[in-house]
Symmetry: D2
Subunit: 377 residues, 4 copies
């Protein structure tokens, strides 16, 4: 693991998620850019001190020299955005498979470089767009991509949060500090941090791509340097039109990612905060409430469920599904089988490129007087 030391949020999430199903074990880490802090964090995690590194490059070098079976099998990158790209490139160069947090890079150009690198190294690359790990998101994709709802016409995807409604970044809150800092977060805060989940969720469920968009980004909190709110009109390749919005100043909202997809024959609705429910509307029968782990959902959802119906699975379980699906591919690679990464149900490097292309277009559109901006291929 790179990043995720004391005081970090997402590092702990990755650790719980990775280990949930007993297939992945934390064996080493460079938990902080401050070597001392990395060491302390390693102690907290009960790691032997010789597997706790002060620098990620050193870790890659040393681990690569350890015998197979002992050395780490892959790297998890859980740092702020600006470090994803150099670490991922270094890991791939050192021969390690990569799990990386999102957004994948700082720029679209980096993303494309990284995609080329993954292709050339033939190593695995998993991007933790965790929300697509939810069983009912997989059921939604099954219904939409399988044509059950008919041709899709409209999508509405939202991600309201309220935690940045005040200038939290000046209070010492680390999560707020780096996300609002252009040097660490990139050209966008709100859209990069959470709007990117909207994009990924939309493309995952519809199986189509956002082709053009019109964005209105706003900085509501005085003194802040990056957007904390944004609304985007979107048009997809398959003719779907819709709305994507995200906000970090939506007071009272916690983590309200949700999506509605309307087709010619049916429609659906999913809310991240009640993740085990998928509302499905039909033109020819009453609205259905499909639920995780019931006999009424497809095998994709079932394969990503651990418990009987009514035993709520949440954020960590969905996150663990990403790792679990990655672990299946990894196991096959480690056992010498040929693996085509797109056969596995986890976000890969191309999803990362899509995300950066979307953000690139959003930022350009926000500055433009033209109504529509193309999302670059």
């Amino acid at each position: 693991m790179v990043g995720g030391g004391r005081g970090a949020f997402i590092g702990a999430v990755h650790r719980i998620a990775a280990q949930m199903d007993g297939k992945i074990e934390l064996v080493c880490g460079a938990f902080s850019s401050t070597p001392h802090k990395s060491k302390e964090s390693g102690k907290d995690l009960l790691l032997p001190s010789d597997r706790v590194y002060g620098r990620y490059r050193k870790m890659f070098r040393k681990e690569a020299k350890l015998p197979e079976g002992e050395r780490m099998d892959f790297v998890s990158i859980v740092t702020p955005n600006n470090m994803h790209y150099p670490i991922a490139m270094a890991a791939l160069d050192a021969g390690f498979h990569v799990v990386c947090d999102k957004p994948m890079t700082m720029t679209l150009a980096e993303a494309k470089n990284l995609e080329r690198k993954v292709k050339s190294t033939k190593l695995l690359f998993c991007l933790t767009h965790n929300y697509t790990g939810n069983p009912m998101v997989k059921e939604a994709r099954r219904l939409v991509v399988g044509g059950k709802l008919g041709k899709v016409r409209r999508v509405v995807v939202e991600y309201p949060q309220g935690w940045l409604a005040t200038r939290l970044e000046t209070s010492g809150q680390k999560q707020a500090a780096w996300r609002t800092n252009p040097k660490r977060a990139g050209a966008t805060c709100c859209m990069g941090d959470i709007g990117s989940h909207c994009e990924n969720l939309t493309e995952y469920i519809t199986g189509s791509e956002i082709r053009e968009l019109c964005a209105d980004l706003t900085i509501f909190v005085k003194g802040r340097l990056l957007d904390d709110d944004g609304s985007v009109l979107i048009r997809l390749k398959n003719g779907t039109r819709g709305i994507l919005w995200a906000s970090q100043i939506a007071v009272g909202e916690e983590n309200g990612l949700n999506i509605r997809v309307y087709g010619e024959k049916g429609a659906l609705e999913w809310h991240q905060q009640e993740p085990n429910t998928l509302i499905v509307h039909w033109t020819n029968k009453p609205t259905e409430v499909r639920r995780t782990s019931t006999p009424f959902v497809g095998k994709e959802a079932a394969a990503n469920t651990r418990l009987p119906a009514g035993h709520p699975e949440g954020y960590l379980e969905a996150f663990a599904n990403i790792y679990n699906n990655f672990a299946q591919a990894l196991t096959n690679v480690l056992e010498g089988r040929k693996v085509r990464e797109t056969d596995y149900d986890y976000p890969n490097v191309h999803d990362g490129v899509r995300g950066m292309a979307f953000l690139d277009a959003v930022v350009n559109s926000a500055r433009s007087k033209e109504k529509w901006v193309k999302v670059p291929n």
Copy 2:
């Protein structure tokens, strides 16, 4: 009443709403442009045959000659959109106060003419934007306009319906037929019919006005001549930004008008299909569920409520509130008191002008390559 004969939907609604509180009685009508049908409709309504007219102009002429106390006190116009303007102008010219369905006219120019006419005749004019009759909408306005939520930053207003997901207008369904017919509905179907409620609700609750917008209108159903779906980015005078969308092809949606308003200190959420609930978020205390007829709502809501808490009041009751508030103004006028229409809590002719200005801008924006189109004053 003009319009609302057999087979009409909104005419019956107006009649129930107007009579609910025992203050208004239907005394005459020209219920259809087909005189025979008007007569039959009058019989259904148990009206004496000499008060059922074949033509509205005749009704205005005859009724105006009846002695005070016997003649009608005001006209309700419940026809398709294209007839609102000529009937309203004629009614005002004949000296009658007017209640008129929305959208008020076919064009912004007509709307402005009508506003001038109302001003010059000094007669009352009530526009039945019925959803603002809901007690919890009034509570929302009280909280927002009263500053309880702080400066407003974002608004999201939606009106999804699914009833026009197929080409219903060719099946003989009258409601669908006129609404999708440019000659009877005007330059827009979806935005005019229901998007206009979004606009009115937004301006009523925020006390501000939409200043510029960016619209994407779509005709999803083949062969249809007017929009059945639309998304609009909006910017308000007070700095609020947001999204307004409406759709008639949103399969599974019934009549899903809803609004969310996010301010610096609080936020709120109201759904028309559960109209007696207002969700209110705060930065400094837990989310509240405010409910109609509890002691925890303001006097504006209380004044528009008939029943104890938990006895659901719905669409007809909200509609009746519009009539009831209009009846208060009317009673004062009839009893010779001076009345300033803006002192009363019902939508007036200026709200109708605002609505037409909004629709004008939406239609222009949909055809434009410019990102932002101003809403004319």
Copy 3:
């Protein structure tokens, strides 16, 4: 109308409900046992003063002498419980059909007398168990009685309110005062006032009868003379077992009547505060959300609906359905057709007897050490 003068709650409800569909008109009344107050109330209602009576017996006598077409067609009794019986008996004796509020009488013996009187006079008798007027309650009955859910096993019916959590009756609140007064309310407050709705709703939806029960009644508020809370285990004729509870001290609850019915093949759930939704579970398909006015409900629900889907109909509309269905029977009688009252969908005198038998058993059980008390036939 008898009762329902100034300050009363249910009288106004009856008036709005009765008149909603334009079939029933208030023509006379004895609105209060205080003649002066009756007169004043009549004025409020714009009735001619010669049709406003100080005493109900006088009203029956005078009205009976008016010519047909002019005299009242039926009586609505909206007084406190203790007056239902004498007024209903007098009305029937005077040849008037009766609409009466619930519970029907003070004792089971009175209820049986009244049933005999109705039978012997062959007049119509409608008991306003208003909640069964809801369209989705009718859909529930259709599913259950029609066998769609299979043999019913368990029912849970609840009616929590919180308005009597303190000793409101000493504050001058009239509704609280008479309901907690044994002389006016009878042997029970909470069970009589709202538990009786639970009984009626259960028997209406299941088409079966409560055969035996075990009740625990409580007076939580000091100084109060009648129960303000009660829990009842119930067993139905058809083998169903279940729970019925009602409370007036359930702080925070408004008017939370709800019912769940579990059969061998399906189950359903209805909440009065969201009356247009019926949740239906199945063993072989996902849970459904059936909604008023959609094509997915039966003709019984459709016949009791005024508006398109998503236009919420509430308490008054459901109440109006009782009157409306009664008006259909009445019209047929007035037009000389033979009418069998059980062919019409409104609660009749036998439902009133069932209600009093239930209350009789509940009160007896609450005092008994025996586990099970039979509900008398």
Copy 4:
């Protein structure tokens, strides 16, 4: 771990829960009464074969001989009910702390013996009544026991499930087979399996005890030997009255544990299927929606939360909280500190005795003609 081999449900849950926070590691197990199956299960779990035992007694014997730091620190008992008692007694006799699934034993007498044994050995004993591990349950307890709701008057606790609506036990489903078998489950199925959670939740949140009750148990599915449904009137020591019911034949219900508590000044409502929400009603302010991980809940809830608000934590996380709280006590014991088990927030052996006393009274009441049966002390 004893039990939890291949095909078991709750064993896997215990393993994920125990390991979630990185404080507990599975080191050995006797996973099945069939030694071969135990070995195979051990392999699945990647345990060294010498730590996988065919018999639990052998495991206790061998492990006890291992050096400190290497031998297991405590035993988790995750077998069917009939084995809890002998294994727990043996584990305590062998000097091991115990985590045991519920219900604790087959009889009240066994439960009391076990309590005496725990006291005499001074070892720790944790009973996995997992639902009390939910943060919002802890918030509920804080509000009630802290007196915020005033004196409690009524409680309603429910646990509907539908999975045993047919005779699943004859189909080879192992979970159904043992739970409906009196030799393995004890004197009750539904009440023992899930009614016991209702009892525990009620006593945990109210801080009081059920003193007497009146139960109606039913076997709805033909051929079944134990209750699959039951309703219980309850009276608590503190004067609270209420209802407790559980069912396994409630078609469409998944795992619907929920509780409502009504006090003099406030009330609350919690649903296990949406565990991160606690509805709180007040007499003097609007209803609140309290949510996990917001600043508006107490330290007890906060201490049992891993993620920011809106990141749903579910069944496994609540279960992990039980283990986590037990691990705190265990760590203190292992590090030589004196520990009073009641200072820690997990269910202990006395809660197990309470549960068995409740079940004892329920079974007696179901067979009795007396209305009220005391819960033995």
